[in-house]
Subunit: 300 residues, 2 copies
DNA sequence: GGGGCCCTGTCACCATGTGAGAAGCTGCCT
DNA sequence: AGGCAGCTTCTCACATGGTGACAGGGCCCC
């Protein structure tokens, strides 16, 4: 068996069972080598949780990543014994989360995942007004345009309009909710939290260094958030993706609470010369959407 | 619906029918001993599979159906003890399949489901040529138009074009793969199988009666399939949805194998007068797509 | 301040999932 | 065709890991 290293046959704590190995989560990207000193940080995600379920979900994600996989491949890449893999996969097949394509001897994703994806979008529900305003912003600013909202404890991108000429930042897509400290819309949302909420959030997520310019010092971030809450606009210069810059403005509801934010991104050099223009367009879009969240109409 | 119900096809309406699902506490609950007599029914629910995973997936689906649910609601409607529900849901949260919205004390679907949905669509991958041809068929026939393919052991709808004036049959959407015996594209696919494959399929799925006109007799179905394999067109008159009728023609690849089928649906009365026209348009579309699957181009 | 929910621990039990081994089952190669 | 070499399913004894009653924080709302 091509298992990694010494196959621990005996009944041991299969501590390596951390199935979070492969998932293409942006969490694991951009690991600056740093000094390889053994940081005592409890970096590995807590292994808490029901093991068999984590295993099953890991299988699902492997199949998603590879665009279909055989049981053997799954067994090899996750290190689970073959009969276990079959049992778990059959359970997924039975519930329509996977499909077994016997002809090709492999498993692929099942249709239930389509339904769940649709349900997710329905739950998030971006109103048509938001969509048209973000599209308009994209056209006017000739930059990728985003809308993000609070959801639970996260800041989530819920709508994006871009084009080949003005593409989105690659890690950004619907559902993105990491790295608030390094994105413009993330900073807007952080600046709208109470100090306590912010502490809790930053404790949980940390300030990973994504580029050389990423703010990793808590004090510096706090100072910038302070200034953002006065100017009502957040900028981010190559702190998230090298060579790219972002700006965002908050959207508030009738109670004056921050409900979301509007953002644009563009190449750092191209946007620099037009900061004023871009800020104005952002502010106009945000004002229109704030009106919408107050009164149900974008028009003044 | 709650996945655990095997061979419960014909259950397609996504009504919010209370997920009675499986026995709440099958073992622990002391059953009134007497009544155990009979019920020699072959135990319709075959709860084969890993129980904890079925429970977890059932939770996921409850949250999807209701558009968010509290742990208590889940516990009540599935009959699982509260701590168990919390444990399972937290595991899902940890893997981004659920999100816990503390403010509203409820759980909603997580972003991983979006990624998985996207992966599913990528795996199924409907070519642009198919999309444009189906759209053209919809316009010309002024009827909802469908494309379905084999996938594993199923016949799956992968693309639909409809409009308010010519809406799709309500249970039909991307990923639909039930009731092959009652749909036109299903009949086309069944007619392209070997007798053995067909037997296996029908044994597994049965011929549930969906409307008064549904063919539920295996012999009658076989006879009709026979005739379909000669005429190369399948009709279905109110066998799937009352008042609606469907027609389908197969699409073949260079090896002459059936790879998919094209279908349209319309009100039974409106389509009746133009059967010839509709058949012709279906045949033209199917021929074009067959050319595409043979040579990579729709054009002759 | 108090009461009523949510939510999260703790813990002993034992049902449940686990994984080695081996037997079906295909389809491929010779 | 035969036989082989995978893939897939089954069986079974074991102890692990999940389970669920209970109880203790935490939070909001009355």
């Amino acid at each position: 068996m091509p298992g990694p290293g010494p196959t621990d046959n005996g009944r041991m704590k299969t501590t390596d069972a951390l199935p979070l190995s492969q998932p293409p989560s942006p969490r694991t990207l951009a690991q600056p080598p740093l000094t390889s000193n053994v940081t005592a940080l409890p970096a590995p995600p807590a292994p808490s949780g029901v093991a068999s379920i984590l295993k099953t979900l890991a299988i699902l994600e492997i199949v998603a990543e590879r665009g279909g996989a055989t049981a053997k491949e799954v067994s090899a890449s996750l290190g689970y014994p073959l009969p276990t893999v079959y049992r778990l996969m059959q359970t997924l097949v039975q519930s329509d989360y996977l499909v077994h394509i016997r002809r090709e001897r492999k498993f692929e994703l099942g249709y239930k995942l389509h339904q769940l994806g649709v349900s997710l979008h329905r739950q998030i529900g971006v109103p048509a007004e938001v969509r048209t305003e973000i599209a308009r912003l994209h056209r006017n600013a000739q930059a990728a345009a985003y809308f993000a909202v609070y959801r639970g404890a996260d800041v989530v991108v819920t709508y994006i309009v871009d084009s080949p000429a003005a593409p989105r930042l690659t890690p950004l897509s619907f559902g993105f909710h990491e790295a608030a400290h390094a994105t413009a819309f993330g900073k807007i949302m952080l600046s709208g939290m109470t100090g306590e909420q912010r502490d809790q959030y930053l404790d949980a997520h940390g300030l990973p260094q994504l580029t050389p310019a990423t703010i990793t010092d808590r004090g510096e971030l706090e100072r910038q958030l302070e200034s953002i809450s006065r100017s009502h606009v957040a900028w981010e210069h190559e702190e998230f993706v090298p060579g790219m810059t972002c700006a965002a403005v908050g959207v508030r509801n009738s109670a004056g609470l921050l409900v979301g934010s509007v953002a644009i991104s563009a190449r750092a050099d191209s946007i620099a010369i037009r900061e004023r223009d871009h800020e104005r367009m952002l502010r106009e879009t945000a004002a229109g959407l704030s009106r919408y969240f107050r009164s149900g109409s974008v028009r003044r």
